[in-house]
Symmetry: C2
Subunit: 587 residues, 2 copies
Amino acid sequence: MYRTHNCGELRIENVGNEVTLSGWIQSSRDFGGLTFIDLRDRYGITQLVFSMDENKEMCESARKTGREFVIQAKGVVRERSNKNPNRPTGEIEIDVKSFEVLNSSETPPFTIEDKTDGGDELRMKYRYLDIRRNPVKENLIFRSKCSLEVRKYLGGSDFVEVETPFLIKSTPEGARDFIVPSRLNKGQFYALPQSPQTFKQLLMVAGMDKYYQIVKCFRDEDLRADRQPEFTQIDCEMSYVHRDDILDTFEGLTKHLFKTLKGVELEDFPRMDYDYAMKTYGSDKPDLRFDMKFVELNDLAKGKGFSVFDDAELVVGINAKGQSKEYSNKAIKKLTEWVKRPQIGAKGLVYVKFEEDGMIRSSVGKFFSEEQIKSWGDLMSADAGDMLLILSGEVDKVRKQLGELRLEMARNMGLMKDGDFKPVWILDFPLLEWDEDADRFFAMHHPFTAPKKEEIEKMKSGDFETLKNLKADAYDLVINGAEIGGGSIRIHDRELQSKNFSLLGFTKEEAQKQFGFLLGAFEYGAPPHGGIAFGFDRLCAVMNNQSSIRDYIAFPKNNQGKDVMIDAPDTVDEEQLIELGLQLRKD
Amino acid sequence: MYRTHNCGELRIENVGNEVTLSGWIQSSRDFGGLTFIDLRDRYGITQLVFSMDENKEMCESARKTGREFVIQAKGVVRERSNKNPNRPTGEIEIDVKSFEVLNSSETPPFTIEDKTDGGDELRMKYRYLDIRRNPVKENLIFRSKCSLEVRKYLGGSDFVEVETPFLIKSTPEGARDFIVPSRLNKGQFYALPQSPQTFKQLLMVAGMDKYYQIVKCFRDEDLRADRQPEFTQIDCEMSYVHRDDILDTFEGLTKHLFKTLKGVELEDFPRMDYDYAMKTYGSDKPDLRFDMKFVELNDLAKGKGFSVFDDAELVVGINAKGQSKEYSNKAIKKLTEWVKRPQIGAKGLVYVKFEEDGMIRSSVGKFFSEEQIKSWGDLMSADAGDMLLILSGEVDKVRKQLGELRLEMARNMGLMKDGDFKPVWILDFPLLEWDEDADRFFAMHHPFTAPKKEEIEKMKSGDFETLKNLKADAYDLVINGAEIGGGSIRIHDRELQSKNFSLLGFTKEEAQKQFGFLLGAFEYGAPPHGGIAFGFDRLCAVMNNQSSIRDYIAFPKNNQGKDVMIDAPDTVDEEQLIELGLQLRKD
């Protein structure tokens, strides 16, 4: 037997027990006649003691081991004279009677500590060492517990987990597919699923009623920070439901996860229209941990002769409470530069400071009377000490810019507090998005999303402007400004689905070639249905107040889509390509 | 709301309730003034009644619906006069007050009944209709319950479910990989994992201690019946364990699954050496629902002048209890033809009948004395009425042939009883298999399997014969003659792993290129570890006495690797290939 106990479980009650432990050497220290080794495994750290007096030979060989050696030690649990209250095993140590080196180790390329000296690149190359570190290890354990709780909750609510296939069919709609050449059918290709969307809808046609799956999805996109070519979804679909049935179910799931895994009781989630969110927060994923709502100033600020505002479609501001003192001219200049960066794209920034002493300072003081500026302050509930930040320009752009500024101010003001969770459902997204370049509509959610019931007639006969303003029965769950997931009620009527494909610029033949199986299925009694998918990696990160998903993924890819640990992708033998009927393109 | 209840839950206690049901029309019958509709959903069937007297218009439109229409009906639960004891809802029916057609249906291409008139091809093409049938639906629900129980059990035993990547690296060892061209790294390819083998070992190096995953695996093999290019494993790995720790854990899991899902209490699983299994059952996956052990007759049957036996390496038989009467000359001739088919490959079949009246009849009566033949019967515990079946030839071949014959006899004799479950662990498999054609050894399990501890020295220095007879610390779980899974203790020592690669004919460079990351990891304190993987599809089938895995997979591929429902694989746009730097080979 390699061990009687793990390295995290021995306590003062075990004093006198003969035990065997196995693990990695975290560190060792020699003090005169004694050698102390901290032995580590997944469960904790236990101190081993070797004595020169008791067994010189053994103690000397213990001194020859190094960090990350794997050893087995047998000995007796005894009380420590010098206790460590920060460690669960800190009251005891092992008086070692015999030990064995199970495997040696080279000196690791970075320290196996909570705060490591290893950079990202090195940590990824030696991910198997990185995972030995508590923060990464705990993230992976959290993820495992979270997926089990999801399954217990949904499995306990009559949901059936059905595995949908990975080798499916490529569809040009949406993101780019990874494709897989078929050897048995040369010249043909499978595609890896971007999501199980069509299969879960087929499962509804199949009468499965309540489906879920925690499932890998694949997108061959140009990778941005925190995007992964393979990622995991909690994917669900339900039949004979309306939107609120789905929202209630997944609000229940989310509350359950926060309660069981974080001990946090969430209140009922507010529900907010997409239009309202865009108008009030400049984003369809508003962070509601803080207020700082947008206030539109068109009525008060336009037509007073300040051409920047007069020429703008929208003048809109936020009130940064208590910040007038915090922002020197230099700080405001820096903030102005920040909003003018190409990533944000504002042309300038107008500020108004309501100083503690009653003075008003503003970058537009010479264009407006104090009274006029005070009227802005009244509308924006400004108190002495507050600072207004105002942007102007085209409606969509300026909202987006102010949304970014709102977040930046919240960061600066320390308003994004750990342990504070503010979920919100965003409802009634637009059905279609017009793409100027492609000169066609794209589905905002996906081509199977139903319009809201009251919009179906408009959809069938509407003109361009009507179509652009159509609302979908689609929804997103947002927590602390991060999109956790989204879904929609689906179209279950073949005719309406065909209409939607035609709005999206599919010819009948294209729709038939790509989605014929789904349209065919709709001929045989498709029930009303809808669903949702959560980004599982993101959910785990948000539940732990972390902004990156990477350390919730055991073996992530880097921004070039590479696994630098195993060195994938890699070339393959010519023979493999020949078998697949492929060759590398010469041009 | 689409429904207040599902179609499986209303009982006599609900009489008088106003309810709303939604579902599919299973069937409808008109009797004079009444129309009866059986409404079906995942949960059951409930009878709806429409009355011409009460609402002529509604009843007439109900009569216009057809099979598999989706309808919603509101009405009142009432007691049936003509009860159906075979249906949980059979005591009640719904007196329909209003109804709505939610979707119509074409006439389905086969009947949605437990026994359908649809052939395999049609069922697969319309899988979404096939899944509406109880047997397929129940299989998928069983699978879902089974995976949840696996997770509860392992999750409750400190196992961490870690998702390993799908986009990995191709290795020529083992079966053929599916490969995935990389667009961001043109000319390079990912491979889909045949199993998470190397990653789970890296997780042990990473200190994860106990890992599991229910995970899709991929093999691009020429498909045989009941093989799928994508299949699911319960995959596990543990650190600081010996073989029996792993066997005990997964025997515990298997017992738990049988108990919770089938109500079957399994006794402790017998453990059997590979050599014994081959010698006694001619198979490393013996079906122990019946005895019929092999008895070797070399001592009694060779050297008596019957050249067929004299020239054979092995003369070996089974005793088909009580079968002498059952097998006419004609039946024996048929059996002889059966063993001579190329799939079995025996040269002939010798029988001995010990008739009820004491007579002995045998196909080799003229070569052996009655006394000699009786001595065979004594050794094989033959009673009056028994029939011995004897094959002879080369050891390995004849064992395999007699193993097949043993199964065939058990089928004929009705010895494979449903509900009878006989698990067995097969231990100590050979480490290496010699391949005459390739003129090299292959790993019988995989290249990471450790030899048994006592064989390590032999492995380092042994000659060809010694190497051929090396035993691995590898094991399989077999239930009712089906291999449920297997695993091994792994090599955790870099030097031994390198030795194994060299025995398998890898040059140092090849080993480094393909498995350098694993060999590298072994430099940093790899713990002793081992693991196992169960075939999840197979486990589900065996637990339900079914021989095919196909109906435990929601959307299986056919024998050409095609999904005939969605028509995958398919051609892709030339543009996609250009982006990937690929072209179809012209030759």
